[in-house]
Amino acid sequence: MTGLLIVLVYVAIFIISALILGVLAGKALRATGFNSLKTVTFGDESAVTPNRAASVVSVVTLFFLWGAFTGSSLIPSFLHAPGPFIGDTSFTYTASDGAGNSDDATVFARVHIVGETVDDPVAEGADDGFAKNDVIKVGAWRSQLIRVDRNDELGRDENVAITAINGQPIAPGARVRVDDGEVGMTPKGTLNFIPAKGLQMEPIWLPSPEAVFARFLDVATQGYQNATLWEHLGYSLFRVVVGFLFGALIGIPLGYAMGLSGWFRGWFDPIVEFMRPVPPLALIPLVIIWAGIGETGKIILLFLAALWIMTIAARAGVSGVNITKVHAAYSLGASKAQILRHVIIPNSLPEIFTGARVAMGVCWGTVVAAELVAAEVGAGMMIMVASRFQLTDIVIMGIILIGVIGFSIDILFRVAEKFLVPWKGRS
């Protein structure tokens, strides 16, 4: 229910901001330069540039929705989705013995934030008749069974049953709406008070942004599961880098050999073509059987994840060499070794960089998955253990950090590519 509402709000913000920024303010934000003079832009992909205002609104919207539906203190409270009911409330029940005798009594409920200690509410007003008033405490988003007849003079044993709540009739299995919540009745006739939940998410499902950030500071300073945050992330990164380096160290020369020698290609083609479509995750069980859950197993797994990608990238790099370049180099008197060094290797660098970016992405995904399965330390292990204790804030923090690191790796490669292979795509 809340989920549907969030989607609706999201779509509404998308449409409204598109109308405001895209149409009304569009003239100021429209593309400048050559593209502004193009009359055909629909269908011309080159004329489509990302609208940075949309990117900003998009990110802000995500955090806004997150904050609004978790009651975050970062955004003003009038923008919050309705929260759960907190405070004192009451309802009356009617008990009757089926022979015409009935009596009313009031249940005083105090709804409090889970984890806080509060006093019992105080019963008020007259309390005559056989049914007696009750007081209960309920945590927000929780519910509470109330044996109201336990303190009554006539109870279930005397065939007295509850027939109405606030004057509305109730029967086993039914629910009645009261102020600030609902009262249900179990099949055995026990009342169950469910305070209004509102539309906000409970922190155990989705903590607020500031709670996640606070947990981040906490884990960053205190650590979690016998390792600091930096150890968790550092171990994951270390495994990725070492696995990737081994994969590149073997894979790139292997790819070159496959691109340059028929024997190598014939020998390794079946292996590479078979291993390429095997997801690295499928190798986790075998690697655990062979090498255990320690560092060796992880690095072997990541080595295998990177190996085939780098092999294929290097092979593609060799076969992508324009034959006229090779002919030209031979005509200029270059030897085979010189052609490898000065023509084939530099010409394949763009392909190798693309492969390295893909391989790093796959490795990063694989290491987290491998740590989810079994590890003593690592980003994946951190969020897996946290999820078992329903520490959703650590899980979300971990996911965000994993995403940030993965994204940073990709950016790093893109920057390196720009500096090291400036001729990419320009021959």
Partner: protein
């Protein structure tokens, strides 16, 4: 060197369907040092195959190539090649491209740097020495390719439609440059082209080849290249023999093309 001898070259390609194509049949040619020969012919006449055989990229099924008394076995630095495009190394600057040959031979930079600079001046790229290849226009790239070939000081320069990808104006300028370099360096040059005008202007000797099988059809000896050195090529075209020769060669090639078409239609 004592000239380039193309001795009775035949080339047959086997096709996957079991048949074969006679790309060249009994081609014999002798070039002496300093010859400038343009090669013309309809597509499929084996011009490029012939050039690739001379360059050493292909081994002929029969016959042999001899350069300076030695039989050609494979590609070598004494036979420089200028391609239509795509043969420059994008990962090197203009200067590094031109210096590639001497560097591969193991010469010291101190020894070849001056010559490289000089060649870049000759081809008019003095202001682009440190540029990247992809920053240059097509015409400039071909100037680099020429300079790179010359820097290696080959005995023979083989050009495979070197100006084919250029626009008409740039092409005309480059034709002048090729003539100038030919005269200044005295290199033996074989130039393949699709353009009859270019063949006339850049061929002291002009070879017309015929297709199926690829063979030498006729050879001309022309005065235009010599006249064109350092002169306005448009003036050369006003020479009384220019137009008549052009028409003669054009109709010759037209006839070959029509013959092919007719044969193809008959076989269909």
């Amino acid at each position: 060197m004592s000239g380039l001898h193309i001795k009775d070259i035949s080339m047959r390609f086997d096709l996957p369907n079991g048949g074969s194509v006679q790309a060249l049949q009994n081609v014999t040619l002798d070039l002496k040092e300093g010859d400038l020969m343009s090669v013309l012919g309809p597509s499929g006449c084996g011009k490029t195959t012939l050039l690739n055989i001379v360059a050493g990229f292909l081994a002929p099924t029969e016959g042999e190539i001899e350069l300076g008394g030695k039989t050609v076995k494979g590609p070598g630095a004494e036979r420089g090649m200028v391609f239509q495009q795509g043969a420059l190394f994008e990962w090197m600057s203009v200067r590094e491209n031109v210096a590639f040959g001497p560097k591969m031979k193991g010469e010291k930079e101190f020894d070849y740097a001056e010559n490289v600079d000089h060649l870049l001046d000759v081809v008019g790229l003095q202001d682009f020495k440190e540029k990247a290849i992809y920053e240059l226009s097509g015409g400039m790239q071909q100037r680099v390719a020429l300079a790179r070939c010359l820097a290696n000081d080959p005995d023979v320069i083989l050009m495979d439609e070197p100006l084919g990808a250029l626009d008409a104006l740039t092409r005309e300028k480059m034709q002048g440059l090729v003539l100038k370099l030919w005269k200044e360096t005295g290199k033996t040059i074989i130039l393949i082209t699709h353009s009859v005008e270019e063949a006339l202007l850049l061929g002291e000797r002009l070879l017309v080849m015929a297709p199926r099988p690829g063979r030498i059809h006729k050879e001309y000896r022309l005065p235009f290249a010599e006249l064109g050195v350092g002169a306005d090529l448009r003036e050369v075209k006003k020479h009384p023999d220019y137009n008549s020769t052009r028409e003669e060669i054009l109709s010759m090639i037209w006839n070959m093309e029509e013959e092919i078409m007719g044969r193809t239609e008959a076989s269909v």
